[in-house]
């Protein structure tokens, strides 16, 4: 293993962290333009993070140690998860750790702590948020795993960079199962990132919040970490979609620095495109009733299941 591979691996970890606020800002900016508003600069989330990190932390009297620790745990879990996804280069030193099931587990851990933190202070909004989040998660997680099964059956592995490599080979062909898995993943991504129609990241209505309700009591650097974690999660899901379903332009191990640079540009372009698509989708749809979310995510689960079944059926023929 060359030193450059380790550097690239490190660079990848830093890249997702540095890009995360920009992607959030970009989606917000595109949405504002779609509404014919000028919108804040895409760099605004960086400024917000700096502002929040300088502010004093206000803690509720009833907050326990868990409430204070949770932001760090959540941030750590999500940063690791986001770093595991091959962004612009595959076959790196730590690629073997980039297991889809590990990523799902890390996401689950982060969610678990966030929900606990929401309950910890004992406000009714936190409780509502946590209960809604858990309802959504209990449906999103199986759908995600179903999608993972479909992929691993196809590629013969759950390691992401191997999946990406497999997707680039000619013998993938056009498969219905893949289309179904893509749909399932997109639905799960929308739900997990608290986007419209499942949740509204921009709402000020306490009673309709899911994610925002859980973090309502956070302030200062804690809130900055939570916000950064949410941005990381968005990057993670978009990278995941890009890595599995559009791995073109990804550099393989041992490529020169020019190739790495080129691949990084392509990756950023993919994220930007993903952001535009997300903004378009969000602007064209209203938020659904809380109790419709199960049908929405149930569809993802069914799509994942159908994808896996179709694979078995087509194999046995």
């Amino acid at each position: 293993m060359a030193l450059i591979d380790y550097l690239v691996q490190g660079g990848q970890m830093l890249l997702v962290l540095m890009l995360a606020p920009l992607l959030t800002g970009w989606v917000r900016w595109v949405k504002a333009r779609l509404l014919r508003r000028r919108g804040p600069s895409p760099l605004q989330p960086y400024r917000d993070l700096v502002k929040l990190s300088r502010k004093e932390v206000v803690l509720a009297d009833s907050a326990s140690w868990l409430f204070r620790v949770a932001p760090y745990l959540i941030f750590a879990a999500l940063w690791v998860a986001a770093s595991l996804v091959p962004t612009f280069a595959g076959g790196l030193p730590f690629s073997w750790t980039a297991d889809l099931i590990a990523i799902v587990a890390l996401l689950g851990t982060a969610r678990f702590f966030l929900a606990l933190a929401g309950l910890d202070v004992g406000t009714s909004f936190g409780g509502i948020g946590s209960s809604r989040e858990m309802m959504i998660a209990s449906l999103a997680e199986p759908a995600m795993l179903m999608m993972v099964f479909t992929l691993s059956l196809l590629a013969g592995t759950t390691e992401l960079s191997a999946v990406a490599r497999f997707m680039l080979t000619a013998d993938v062909g056009l498969r219905v199962s893949l289309a179904l898995a893509l749909l399932a993943l997109v639905i799960v991504a929308i739900a997990e990132n608290a986007r419209i129609p499942v949740d509204n990241p921009a709402t000020h209505l306490e009673l309709t919040m899911v994610h925002e309700a859980m973090v309502l009591e956070y302030s200062g650097r804690h809130l900055a970490l939570i916000e950064l974690s949410s941005s990381l999660k968005l990057v993670l899901y978009l990278s995941l979609v890009a890595c599995i379903f559009a791995p073109w332009g990804m550099a393989s191990a041992g490529a020169g620095s020019a190739a790495y640079g080129y691949a990084a540009v392509i990756y950023v372009a993919k994220l930007a495109l993903g952001g535009v698509l997300l903004a378009l989708f969000e602007s064209s749809i209203a938020k659904m009733r809380v109790f419709r979310v199960d049908q929405f995510l149930g569809a993802a689960l069914m799509l994942g299941l159908l994808g896996a079944l179709l694979l078995f059926v087509s194999r046995s023929l």
Partner: protein, 507 residues
């Protein structure tokens, strides 16, 4: 009085008060008072208003069949009056407000908790003859809710968005709302105290600030009440200009509401477009009358300024813009399935309740109550203009959006007619002075519903007592009923579709 009105016939058993215009007011005995309450409870007439004085209480009544208004007054012996809320629930909050403000006691009242007074006023009973020092109040007791696995969600009075303060106490079973109890009064400003002894000019400015978004409607109601009391003839042109202002106000507010309701379902596109339209209305209003909200544009006797020279052109352009840009927005609303999924069948309000509460405005008309003060009892120049009053029966959020859409269209039509037919002439008349005590009452259709203003001018022409009643008094309680059996997350949508005034209610 023999105008076929059972209400007036009933009031005739009392003693009519001279100098109360345009509808009669009668001093009644406690027996007759009870009879009138009986009529309220039986649905013979509905409640228009209920307000106090240091030694009397007044009941404003509306009889739909004859389209007449009547006021019954009961002088309070030993500071007591028989409760209206006991037999007729819509009066309960108004009754509690009377108790808070005047220190009168409603005997046999079903609810003795204070309403506007939260124990933070410097003095108790601020409008009573002799007011006591502030008394410490016991903690507000919310109504008990019993049952398994119920939990309470307190919301407000300070909200996450920039809106007025009000407290909502939800009792929910998971997501399903079992009971909502409101607590209002956080923006009590003491307007009725300020109005005592104010000159007519100052009072007009005060009443125009009861609820800023309805300033034209309040200004108009106050002006009409003063003109009724003083028997002032308002020039024809002033009537038309007032209607123009009122329709512009309706247009701006309905546009804002349609967008805001959609935004509460996270459909920001409608808010953005409706926001642009609303802004255009406000700018056109500023061009026409020199103020975006047309505050103080209506004064007793007429209007404060004539339509600006470039006003007509600005309005014609506004109408053209609306006709071009509004229909696509209606289509967008109607064709967005995800949005319809949120609004249809959400926040259903029983038409029977709407009728019982005499709830006016959009909420009433969305639930089958066709009441529109512009038509009945009616006031000029609407008798010479053609317009429809849209009525629907679904009584859900969707119906309330549609009523607003239809009313926007009607307002455009009205503005068009007003511009075409605007008569020339003076825009203001002097108020006639008589040196006697005179009383007036007026009912005006604002964008929320019917605004009632009752006032008494003393011999010097100053306001002795004035009571502006916001339509929200009869709409807030219905919101409590509308949210039952809905889910907690749908409350903002229901609330926005009602869009009641906090400021107008808390006064």
């Amino acid at each position: 009085m023999s105008d076929g009105s059972r209400l007036h016939a009933a009031l005739a058993a009392g003693e009519f008060v001279g100098g109360h215009r345009p509808w009669p007011r009668a001093r009644v005995t406690p027996e007759l008072w009870r009879e009138l309450i009986q009529g309220l409870a039986g649905g013979a007439w509905s409640l228009l208003g209920f307000w106090g004085e240091p030694d009397a209480v007044h009941l404003g009544l509306w009889e739909e069949s004859s389209g007449t208004v009547g006021v019954a007054s009961l002088s309070c012996q030993d500071g007591q009056f028989p409760s209206v809320g006991r037999r007729h629930p819509p009066a309960q909050r108004l009754e509690r407000a009377i108790v808070d403000l005047f220190g009168l006691q409603a005997t046999d009242a079903p609810d003795h908790r204070p309403w506007l007074d939260h124990g933070r006023w410097p003095l108790a009973y601020p409008l009573a003859e002799t007011n006591a020092r502030a008394r410490p109040l016991p903690p507000y007791a919310f109504l008990p809710v019993e049952g398994e696995s119920l939990h309470q969600i307190p919301v407000g009075p300070v909200h996450a968005g920039i809106i007025e303060p009000g407290h909502f106490r939800f009792t929910a079973n998971g997501e399903a709302v079992v009971r909502l109890e409101q607590r209002l009064g956080y923006v009590h400003k003491g307007i009725e105290s300020l109005l005592r002894g104010a000159s007519v000019e100052r009072a007009a400015r005060l009443v125009g600030r009861v609820s800023g978004d309805s300033t034209v409607a309040y200004g108009l109601a106050f002006a009409r009440a003063v003109e009724a009391a003083t028997e002032t003839e308002v020039p024809e042109r002033a009537h038309w200009l007032r209607a123009l202002m009122a329709e512009l106000e309706r247009l701006a507010n309905h546009c804002g509401d349609i967008g805001a309701i959609c935004n509460d379902a996270a459909f920001a596109l409608m808010l953005a477009h409706c926001g642009v339209l609303r802004e255009k209305v406000l700018r056109a209003s500023a061009v026409c009358f020199g103020h975006r909200l047309m505050m103080d544009g209506i004064v007793p006797g007429g209007v404060s300024g004539d339509l600006a020279v470039e006003g007509e052109k600005a309005l014609r352009e506004l109408l053209a813009e609306f006709r071009r840009r509004f229909p696509p927005l209606i289509d967008l609303y109607d064709n967005t399935a995800s949005l319809q999924d949120r609004t249809v069948a959400t926040g259903f309000t029983r038409p029977a309740l709407i009728k019982q509460f005499g709830c006016g405005g959009v909420i009433g008309r969305a639930g089958g109550r066709a009441f529109d003060a512009r038509r009945q009892p009616g006031y000029p120049p609407y008798d010479r203009l053609e317009f429809e009053t849209p009525v629907l029966g679904d009584s859900d959020v969707n119906a309330r959006v549609w009523i607003r859409i239809r009313e926007v269209e009607q307002s455009l039509r009205l503005i068009d007619q007003i511009l075409d037919g605007l008569p020339a002439g003076p825009t203001r008349a002097e108020l006639s002075q008589s040196g006697e005590t005179r009383e007036g009452v007026a009912l005006v259709e604002g964008f929320r519903g019917d605004v009632l203003v009752w006032l008494r001018l003393n011999a010097g022409g100053e306001v002795a007592r004035c009571h502006p009643r916001d339509p929200s008094w009869f709409q807030w309680p219905l919101l409590e009923a509308a949210i039952e059996n809905n889910i907690v997350a749908d409350f903002p949508l229901c609330n926005k579709s009602f869009n009641c005034s906090y400021s107008g209610h808390d006064l």
